[in-house]
Symmetry: C2
Amino acid sequence: MPSSRSAEAITFDNIQAARQRLAGFAVKTPLLENKTLNELAGKRVLVKAECLQRTGSFKFRGGWSALSALPEAVRERGILAYSSGNHAQAIALSAQLHGTTATIIMPNDAPQLKLRNTEAYGAKVVLYDRPAGEQREELGNQLAQSQGLTLIKPYDNPDVMAGQGTTGLEIAEQAAALGIDHAEVLVCCGGGGLTSGIALALEQSAPNMRVRPVEPELSDDVKRSLISGQRECNEGVPTSICDAIVTPSPGELTFPIIKRLCGQGLSVSDNQALHAMKLAMLELKLIAEPGGAVALAAAMFRQQEIESDAVICVISGGNADPAMLAKALSAD
Amino acid sequence: MPSSRSAEAITFDNIQAARQRLAGFAVKTPLLENKTLNELAGKRVLVKAECLQRTGSFKFRGGWSALSALPEAVRERGILAYSSGNHAQAIALSAQLHGTTATIIMPNDAPQLKLRNTEAYGAKVVLYDRPAGEQREELGNQLAQSQGLTLIKPYDNPDVMAGQGTTGLEIAEQAAALGIDHAEVLVCCGGGGLTSGIALALEQSAPNMRVRPVEPELSDDVKRSLISGQRECNEGVPTSICDAIVTPSPGELTFPIIKRLCGQGLSVSDNQALHAMKLAMLELKLIAEPGGAVALAAAMFRQQEIESDAVICVISGGNADPAMLAKALSAD
């Protein structure tokens, strides 16, 4: 049975409405181009620098979108989220700016920078044992019920997806201003909130662009799901330095949109992600975290799998510890 | 005798004209704000990210402005410049995009990244012995005369100054959009092209802002010149990691404007510049080179010398070698 657009979690109008709510709060991040990257890739490479977004990742768009859409009385009772760190910071800051409280369930192996920043934004952090396979979803549901908190899931939430989709509206406008309307748009993909949001935004605002999800090789559930046509899971707990996008499977709400609109998935090695981080630092003057660098890595190191003359890569976040940045700088 | 505005090298109109020539070629760089930096400084800190400019520094504005203002017949004969690296890359790329040739005189101790990139932009690089005190100005004049090239000085050139001033027009507009019209504007200062250009742009577009030049402690010629009222020189060859802004003295054309419009100079240690580089990486997700980080360093570490409730810092460039970035990451 072909997937039906009317059954999807959000529409283009939801993304436009989210953009209204984000105006004056989210950064309109630049779309950058660099001569060296163009030469390395043999085509125009445009980079959407979402690492410059508030809290250091695109997640602020979705977090703000979701909190600003809640009725005030609900929001006041407090917000709950689970996240490896970027959604955590986004919810923490959005809650703080809205004058409410945030409780965040985070894995005990999250980068120190993300844990520290989440607390610095005033959130209460509850740790769970990810390496041991503890499930954050269960813990989240328990806390939400017992404390009357509203759970904002990191990707399977329509308002979050609509917020992430605002990135796509900006890409369409900024690329058009640079004379580009045909392109493959490479998006770092975990649960698929950003990927599905951008795909839906571009369907209407730049119909000649095609989104391609990019994942770490050892956590390529979206790529495999696009091949099989149904949501596939990663086996066990995938090991990758790309903590931000290591997720068990594509989202229930995000996958139907990804399936209908996206091209084939791409995957890169951790080492390629590190090399892309180094290129981002030396050429673009941007800090990318490993999971935020996989789209750029695919543009640079998976060229044979990309057909279009122009490629747009989202650097989705830049929250890396100094040790990880030093590791990337010494990549060769 | 009070300095006379009519005797100055450029006017506000020249900056507006430069902006017209730069439209579609230079990046309108973002003005970023970060919660952690605000808390560390105890005030709003806005960062103008000129490290995201083409060629990795603000110098592209001045280079493009100067080349685009030349008569075509003159431009075609070839361009000559001397530079520690950022003006070099700016002139090299501007020449390449205009379809003409560039010859660049660079010090033999310039960062490898800057030398390599200048050649990658198609320029012919001629090295001189800076540590031994060889004078680039003499060499430049000789080459210009013998080969019929047009010398574009790095700061003492009206069209270069006007180009750098376009940074100030953007700052005024972007700060106003964030609700800020009173601020001290800290500018990394070498010969004073950027400082004088921004000061002149703000005089008309944001008259409640005051520019403060920032230098390395061991190369504080502008600070001392502002005290004495006349152009002072650095003694010998100053030693600083801030290669981009180590210059012998304020420019002949830039200093009258700096003297009339700028507040007291600030200076920071190399170690403070390294710490500011680390903050830029971890908090702003931006790469700053040492000389490009001194304004942010002053905002963070010289707070007792800053009066205003809001401060705007220009990160003027990001062309640092991996070893320098690693050094900054390990600063404590």
